[in-house]
Protein backbone atom coordinates (compact mmCIF):
# COMPACT_ATOMS: atom_id res chain seq x y z
CA UNK A 1 0.00 0.00 0.00
CA UNK A 2 2.86 2.39 0.87
CA UNK A 3 4.52 1.73 -2.47
CA UNK A 4 1.29 2.31 -4.40
CA UNK A 5 0.58 5.42 -2.36
CA UNK A 6 4.06 6.89 -2.89
CA UNK A 7 3.70 6.20 -6.63
CA UNK A 8 0.74 8.59 -6.64
CA UNK A 9 -2.04 6.03 -7.12
CA UNK A 10 -5.40 7.63 -6.22
CA UNK A 11 -6.88 6.48 -2.93
CA UNK A 12 -9.84 4.70 -4.51
CA UNK A 13 -7.44 2.42 -6.48
CA UNK A 14 -4.85 1.86 -3.77
CA UNK A 15 -6.15 -1.51 -2.57
CA UNK A 16 -6.45 -2.97 -6.06
CA UNK A 17 -3.06 -1.72 -7.33
CA UNK A 18 -1.33 -2.81 -4.12
CA UNK A 19 -2.87 -6.25 -4.67
CA UNK A 20 -1.34 -6.43 -8.13
CA UNK A 21 2.09 -5.40 -6.79
CA UNK A 22 1.91 -8.04 -4.05
CA UNK A 23 1.03 -10.75 -6.56
CA UNK A 24 3.88 -9.71 -8.85
CA UNK A 25 6.33 -9.98 -5.95
CA UNK A 26 4.92 -13.40 -5.01
CA UNK A 27 5.28 -14.67 -8.56
CA UNK A 28 8.81 -13.25 -8.76
CA UNK A 29 9.90 -15.20 -5.70
CA UNK A 30 7.96 -18.40 -6.36
CA UNK A 31 9.15 -18.81 -9.95
CA UNK A 32 12.80 -17.74 -9.41
CA UNK A 33 12.37 -14.87 -11.83
CA UNK A 34 14.90 -12.33 -12.95
CA UNK A 35 12.12 -10.11 -14.25
CA UNK A 36 8.35 -9.80 -13.96
CA UNK A 37 7.01 -6.83 -15.83
CA UNK A 38 3.43 -5.71 -16.36
CA UNK A 39 3.24 -3.01 -18.98
CA UNK A 40 0.75 -1.49 -19.47
CA UNK A 41 -1.29 -1.77 -16.29
CA UNK A 42 -4.75 -0.66 -17.42
CA UNK A 43 -7.56 1.05 -15.57
CA UNK A 44 -10.82 0.22 -17.38
CA UNK A 45 -13.84 2.51 -17.61
CA UNK A 46 -15.51 0.18 -15.13
CA UNK A 47 -12.72 0.90 -12.65
CA UNK A 48 -11.00 -2.47 -12.90
CA UNK A 49 -7.19 -2.73 -12.86
CA UNK A 50 -5.93 -5.32 -15.34
CA UNK A 51 -2.59 -6.34 -16.91
CA UNK A 52 -2.54 -5.32 -20.58
CA UNK A 53 0.65 -7.24 -21.26
CA UNK A 54 3.36 -8.86 -19.23
CA UNK A 55 6.77 -10.42 -19.48
CA UNK A 56 8.33 -12.92 -17.13
CA UNK A 57 11.93 -14.13 -17.26
CA UNK A 58 13.22 -17.08 -15.25
CA UNK A 59 16.73 -17.34 -13.89
CA UNK A 60 18.32 -19.85 -16.31
CA UNK A 61 19.99 -21.66 -13.44
CA UNK A 62 16.68 -22.35 -11.74
CA UNK A 63 15.10 -24.10 -14.72
CA UNK A 64 15.60 -27.54 -13.17
CA UNK A 65 13.52 -26.48 -10.14
CA UNK A 66 10.47 -25.82 -12.29
CA UNK A 67 9.50 -28.94 -14.23
CA UNK A 68 5.91 -27.63 -14.12
CA UNK A 69 6.91 -24.98 -16.68
CA UNK A 70 7.99 -27.54 -19.28
CA UNK A 71 11.18 -25.66 -20.16
CA UNK A 72 13.27 -27.84 -22.52
CA UNK A 73 16.38 -25.67 -22.45
CA UNK A 74 16.62 -22.84 -19.91
CA UNK A 75 17.88 -20.20 -22.35
CA UNK A 76 16.23 -17.56 -24.47
CA UNK A 77 15.23 -19.04 -27.82
CA UNK A 78 13.49 -17.40 -30.75
CA UNK A 79 11.86 -20.76 -31.57
CA UNK A 80 11.24 -24.17 -30.05
CA UNK A 81 14.73 -25.71 -29.64
CA UNK A 82 15.74 -27.66 -32.76
CA UNK A 83 17.51 -31.04 -32.74
CA UNK A 84 20.75 -29.13 -33.27
CA UNK A 85 20.00 -26.92 -30.28
CA UNK A 86 19.40 -30.01 -28.16
CA UNK A 87 22.82 -31.40 -29.11
CA UNK A 88 24.39 -28.04 -28.23
CA UNK A 89 22.62 -27.98 -24.88
CA UNK A 90 23.93 -31.47 -24.15
CA UNK A 91 27.44 -29.99 -23.99
CA UNK A 92 26.50 -27.48 -21.30
CA UNK A 93 23.85 -29.33 -19.36
CA UNK A 94 26.10 -31.10 -16.88
CA UNK A 95 29.50 -29.56 -17.60
CA UNK A 96 30.09 -26.21 -15.94
CA UNK A 97 33.80 -25.93 -16.76
CA UNK A 98 33.60 -22.69 -18.74
CA UNK A 99 31.07 -21.89 -21.45
CA UNK A 100 30.34 -24.18 -24.37
CA UNK A 101 27.27 -22.50 -25.80
CA UNK A 102 25.93 -23.58 -29.21
CA UNK A 103 22.59 -22.78 -30.83
CA UNK A 104 21.18 -22.32 -34.31
CA UNK A 105 21.02 -18.78 -35.68
CA UNK A 106 18.95 -19.66 -38.72
CA UNK A 107 16.73 -22.56 -39.70
CA UNK A 108 17.29 -21.71 -43.38
CA UNK A 109 19.39 -24.52 -44.84
CA UNK A 110 18.82 -23.71 -48.52
CA UNK A 111 20.47 -20.32 -48.97
CA UNK A 112 24.19 -20.03 -49.53
CA UNK A 113 26.63 -18.00 -47.47
CA UNK A 114 26.28 -19.68 -44.09
CA UNK A 115 29.40 -20.07 -41.97
CA UNK A 116 29.99 -22.37 -39.01
CA UNK A 117 30.60 -19.76 -36.36
CA UNK A 118 32.71 -20.37 -33.25
CA UNK A 119 33.46 -17.34 -31.13
CA UNK A 120 35.59 -17.01 -28.02
CA UNK A 121 33.55 -14.70 -25.80
CA UNK A 122 30.37 -12.69 -26.26
CA UNK A 123 32.12 -9.52 -27.42
CA UNK A 124 34.17 -11.45 -29.95
CA UNK A 125 30.97 -13.07 -31.16
CA UNK A 126 29.38 -9.71 -31.94
CA UNK A 127 32.49 -8.49 -33.75
CA UNK A 128 32.71 -11.75 -35.66
CA UNK A 129 29.08 -11.69 -36.75
CA UNK A 130 29.53 -8.11 -37.94
CA UNK A 131 32.64 -9.16 -39.86
CA UNK A 132 30.64 -11.84 -41.67
CA UNK A 133 27.58 -9.73 -42.37
CA UNK A 134 29.70 -6.88 -43.82
CA UNK A 135 30.87 -9.23 -46.59
CA UNK A 136 27.48 -10.85 -47.16
CA UNK A 137 28.10 -14.03 -45.17
CA UNK A 138 25.89 -15.26 -42.32
CA UNK A 139 26.50 -17.22 -39.11
CA UNK A 140 24.64 -20.52 -39.31
CA UNK A 141 24.88 -20.81 -35.54
CA UNK A 142 26.01 -18.99 -32.44
CA UNK A 143 28.78 -20.57 -30.40
CA UNK A 144 30.89 -19.31 -27.54
CA UNK A 145 33.71 -21.08 -25.73
CA UNK A 146 34.93 -18.70 -23.07
CA UNK A 147 35.43 -18.61 -19.31
CA UNK A 148 38.39 -20.98 -19.65
CA UNK A 149 36.61 -24.14 -20.79
CA UNK A 150 38.48 -27.41 -20.90
CA UNK A 151 39.72 -28.60 -24.30
CA UNK A 152 37.25 -31.50 -24.43
CA UNK A 153 34.36 -29.03 -24.15
CA UNK A 154 35.80 -26.78 -26.87
CA UNK A 155 36.26 -29.84 -29.09
CA UNK A 156 32.60 -30.78 -28.61
CA UNK A 157 31.50 -27.29 -29.61
CA UNK A 158 33.73 -27.28 -32.71
CA UNK A 159 32.43 -30.71 -33.75
CA UNK A 160 28.80 -29.65 -33.38
CA UNK A 161 29.44 -26.42 -35.31
CA UNK A 162 31.13 -28.42 -38.07
CA UNK A 163 28.27 -30.94 -38.21
CA UNK A 164 26.01 -28.46 -40.00
CA UNK A 165 25.53 -29.69 -43.57
CA UNK A 166 24.95 -26.32 -45.22
CA UNK A 167 27.98 -24.36 -44.02
CA UNK A 168 30.55 -23.09 -46.52
CA UNK A 169 33.27 -22.28 -44.01
CA UNK A 170 34.33 -22.26 -40.37
CA UNK A 171 35.33 -19.13 -38.48
CA UNK A 172 37.07 -19.33 -35.12
CA UNK A 173 36.41 -15.78 -34.01
CA UNK A 174 38.79 -14.92 -31.19
CA UNK A 175 38.32 -11.20 -31.74
CA UNK A 176 39.57 -10.07 -28.34
CA UNK A 177 42.72 -10.76 -26.33
CA UNK A 178 41.31 -13.59 -24.23
CA UNK A 179 42.33 -13.92 -20.62
CA UNK A 180 42.54 -17.69 -20.81
CA UNK A 181 45.25 -20.02 -22.00
CA UNK A 182 44.48 -20.42 -25.66
CA UNK A 183 46.39 -23.64 -26.12
CA UNK A 184 43.30 -25.53 -24.99
CA UNK A 185 41.45 -24.01 -27.95
CA UNK A 186 44.39 -24.94 -30.16
CA UNK A 187 44.42 -28.60 -29.15
CA UNK A 188 40.64 -28.87 -29.38
CA UNK A 189 40.23 -27.19 -32.76
CA UNK A 190 43.13 -29.13 -34.27
CA UNK A 191 41.54 -32.42 -33.20
CA UNK A 192 38.12 -31.44 -34.53
CA UNK A 193 39.45 -30.19 -37.88
CA UNK A 194 41.73 -33.20 -38.34
CA UNK A 195 38.64 -35.37 -38.03
CA UNK A 196 36.24 -33.26 -40.08
CA UNK A 197 38.24 -31.70 -42.92
CA UNK A 198 39.08 -34.97 -44.69
CA UNK A 199 35.28 -35.27 -45.21
CA UNK A 200 35.22 -31.82 -46.86
CA UNK A 201 38.44 -31.33 -48.86
CA UNK A 202 39.25 -27.67 -49.47
CA UNK A 203 36.82 -26.46 -46.81
CA UNK A 204 37.54 -22.81 -45.83
CA UNK A 205 38.66 -22.17 -42.26
CA UNK A 206 39.78 -18.86 -40.80
CA UNK A 207 41.22 -19.25 -37.32
CA UNK A 208 41.81 -16.15 -35.20
CA UNK A 209 43.30 -16.91 -31.80
CA UNK A 210 44.74 -14.29 -29.46
CA UNK A 211 45.42 -14.11 -25.74
CA UNK A 212 47.45 -15.92 -23.12
CA UNK A 213 50.01 -18.35 -24.53
CA UNK A 214 49.20 -17.06 -27.98
CA UNK A 215 52.49 -17.89 -29.67
CA UNK A 216 52.46 -21.44 -28.36
CA UNK A 217 48.80 -21.83 -29.33
CA UNK A 218 49.31 -20.59 -32.87
CA UNK A 219 52.26 -22.95 -33.22
CA UNK A 220 50.07 -25.88 -32.16
CA UNK A 221 47.42 -24.91 -34.73
CA UNK A 222 49.95 -24.38 -37.54
CA UNK A 223 51.80 -27.60 -36.83
CA UNK A 224 48.69 -29.69 -36.16
CA UNK A 225 46.91 -28.63 -39.35
CA UNK A 226 49.92 -28.63 -41.63
CA UNK A 227 48.86 -31.56 -43.79
CA UNK A 228 45.12 -31.33 -43.31
CA UNK A 229 43.18 -30.88 -46.58
CA UNK A 230 41.48 -27.54 -46.02
CA UNK A 231 41.85 -23.90 -47.00
CA UNK A 232 43.15 -22.83 -43.63
CA UNK A 233 44.35 -19.39 -42.66
CA UNK A 234 45.62 -18.71 -39.14
CA UNK A 235 45.89 -15.31 -37.49
CA UNK A 236 46.82 -13.97 -34.06
CA UNK A 237 46.73 -10.64 -32.23
CA UNK A 238 48.16 -8.77 -35.25
CA UNK A 239 44.65 -9.08 -36.79
CA UNK A 240 42.54 -9.10 -33.65
CA UNK A 241 41.25 -5.57 -34.27
CA UNK A 242 40.94 -5.97 -38.02
CA UNK A 243 37.54 -7.57 -38.42
CA UNK A 244 37.19 -6.27 -41.98
CA UNK A 245 40.29 -8.21 -42.98
CA UNK A 246 39.06 -11.41 -41.32
CA UNK A 247 35.65 -11.10 -43.01
CA UNK A 248 37.27 -10.46 -46.38
CA UNK A 249 39.57 -13.47 -46.03
CA UNK A 250 36.63 -15.68 -45.09
CA UNK A 251 34.73 -14.51 -48.16
CA UNK A 252 37.74 -14.97 -50.45
CA UNK A 253 38.21 -18.56 -49.29
CA UNK A 254 34.48 -19.29 -49.63
CA UNK A 255 34.49 -17.96 -53.20
CA UNK A 256 37.47 -20.15 -54.08
CA UNK A 257 35.73 -23.14 -52.52
CA UNK A 258 32.52 -22.46 -54.46
CA UNK A 259 34.44 -22.18 -57.70
CA UNK A 260 36.24 -25.43 -57.01
CA UNK A 261 32.97 -27.22 -56.27
CA UNK A 262 31.21 -25.54 -59.18
CA UNK A 263 28.46 -24.08 -56.99
Amino acid sequence: MDLASSAGIPNELLREVAGVISKVVEVFKKRDCNIVEINPLILTREGRVIAGDCRMGIDDNSGFRHPEMGITIPREFPWEPSDFDMVGWGIEETDLRGSGFVMKMSLDERSSGFIGFHAIGGGAAMIGMDALSRVGLKPANFADTSGNPVASKIYRVAKVVLSQPNIEGYLLAGFLIANQEQWHHAHAVVKALREELPKRPGFPCVLLLAGNKEEESLQIVREGLENVPGRIEIYGSERVEDSDFIGERMLALVEEYRKEKGT
Partner: protein, 97 residues
Protein backbone atom coordinates in the same frame (compact mmCIF):
# COMPACT_ATOMS: atom_id res chain seq x y z
CA UNK B 1 46.62 -54.79 -24.37
CA UNK B 2 46.13 -51.03 -24.66
CA UNK B 3 46.10 -48.94 -21.52
CA UNK B 4 42.80 -47.17 -20.99
CA UNK B 5 41.68 -44.69 -18.41
CA UNK B 6 38.77 -42.35 -18.03
CA UNK B 7 38.75 -38.73 -17.00
CA UNK B 8 35.50 -37.02 -16.17
CA UNK B 9 33.95 -37.11 -19.65
CA UNK B 10 36.59 -38.64 -21.92
CA UNK B 11 38.43 -41.92 -22.41
CA UNK B 12 42.17 -42.03 -23.14
CA UNK B 13 43.37 -45.16 -24.95
CA UNK B 14 47.11 -45.77 -25.29
CA UNK B 15 48.49 -48.52 -27.50
CA UNK B 16 51.52 -49.09 -25.31
CA UNK B 17 52.96 -51.62 -27.78
CA UNK B 18 54.07 -48.57 -29.78
CA UNK B 19 55.72 -46.85 -26.84
CA UNK B 20 59.02 -48.71 -26.32
CA UNK B 21 60.27 -47.34 -29.68
CA UNK B 22 59.26 -43.78 -28.83
CA UNK B 23 62.25 -41.51 -28.37
CA UNK B 24 60.40 -38.29 -27.47
CA UNK B 25 58.04 -39.52 -24.74
CA UNK B 26 56.40 -36.18 -25.43
CA UNK B 27 53.11 -37.19 -23.82
CA UNK B 28 54.73 -37.19 -20.38
CA UNK B 29 56.06 -33.65 -20.70
CA UNK B 30 52.81 -32.44 -22.30
CA UNK B 31 50.83 -33.77 -19.37
CA UNK B 32 52.96 -31.68 -17.02
CA UNK B 33 52.73 -28.50 -19.12
CA UNK B 34 49.06 -28.57 -20.11
CA UNK B 35 47.50 -30.61 -17.29
CA UNK B 36 48.53 -31.90 -13.88
CA UNK B 37 51.16 -34.48 -14.71
CA UNK B 38 48.93 -37.53 -14.51
CA UNK B 39 50.99 -39.52 -16.97
CA UNK B 40 54.22 -41.02 -15.68
CA UNK B 41 56.62 -43.45 -17.27
CA UNK B 42 56.27 -47.01 -16.01
CA UNK B 43 58.73 -49.42 -17.57
CA UNK B 44 59.16 -47.04 -20.51
CA UNK B 45 55.42 -46.66 -21.12
CA UNK B 46 52.99 -43.86 -20.14
CA UNK B 47 50.82 -44.90 -17.24
CA UNK B 48 48.47 -43.61 -14.58
CA UNK B 49 48.79 -46.76 -12.48
CA UNK B 50 50.27 -44.77 -9.59
CA UNK B 51 46.84 -43.12 -9.17
CA UNK B 52 43.44 -44.55 -8.31
CA UNK B 53 40.74 -44.18 -10.97
CA UNK B 54 39.02 -41.63 -8.70
CA UNK B 55 42.23 -39.57 -8.56
CA UNK B 56 42.57 -39.70 -12.33
CA UNK B 57 39.01 -38.41 -12.74
CA UNK B 58 39.55 -35.71 -10.14
CA UNK B 59 42.89 -34.46 -11.42
CA UNK B 60 42.37 -34.87 -15.16
CA UNK B 61 41.74 -31.63 -17.02
CA UNK B 62 40.85 -33.21 -20.38
CA UNK B 63 43.46 -31.05 -22.10
CA UNK B 64 43.93 -33.43 -25.09
CA UNK B 65 47.62 -32.50 -25.21
CA UNK B 66 49.02 -36.05 -24.89
CA UNK B 67 47.16 -37.17 -28.02
CA UNK B 68 48.40 -34.14 -29.97
CA UNK B 69 52.03 -34.58 -28.88
CA UNK B 70 51.92 -38.27 -29.67
CA UNK B 71 50.71 -37.43 -33.22
CA UNK B 72 53.43 -34.89 -33.72
CA UNK B 73 56.42 -36.28 -31.89
CA UNK B 74 55.51 -39.78 -30.80
CA UNK B 75 54.30 -42.97 -32.47
CA UNK B 76 50.60 -42.13 -32.88
CA UNK B 77 49.77 -44.40 -29.98
CA UNK B 78 47.19 -42.28 -28.14
CA UNK B 79 43.54 -41.94 -29.05
CA UNK B 80 41.06 -39.90 -27.02
CA UNK B 81 37.36 -40.59 -27.27
CA UNK B 82 35.10 -37.63 -26.53
CA UNK B 83 31.42 -38.60 -26.70
CA UNK B 84 28.97 -35.90 -27.73
CA UNK B 85 25.49 -36.56 -26.42
CA UNK B 86 22.94 -36.76 -29.21
CA UNK B 87 25.29 -35.93 -32.10
CA UNK B 88 25.26 -39.37 -33.73
CA UNK B 89 21.46 -39.50 -33.63
CA UNK B 90 21.26 -35.97 -35.04
CA UNK B 91 23.61 -36.84 -37.92
CA UNK B 92 21.74 -40.07 -38.65
CA UNK B 93 18.38 -38.31 -38.61
CA UNK B 94 19.69 -35.65 -41.00
CA UNK B 95 21.44 -38.27 -43.14
CA UNK B 96 24.78 -36.50 -42.68
CA UNK B 97 27.96 -38.54 -43.00
Amino acid sequence: MPTEFEERTIKVIIDTNKCPDCVSQACIEACKVYSRGLLQLDDGKPSVSHLSSEEVRRRGTECLACEYECWQRGNNAIRIEIPIKGLDDYLKKRNIK
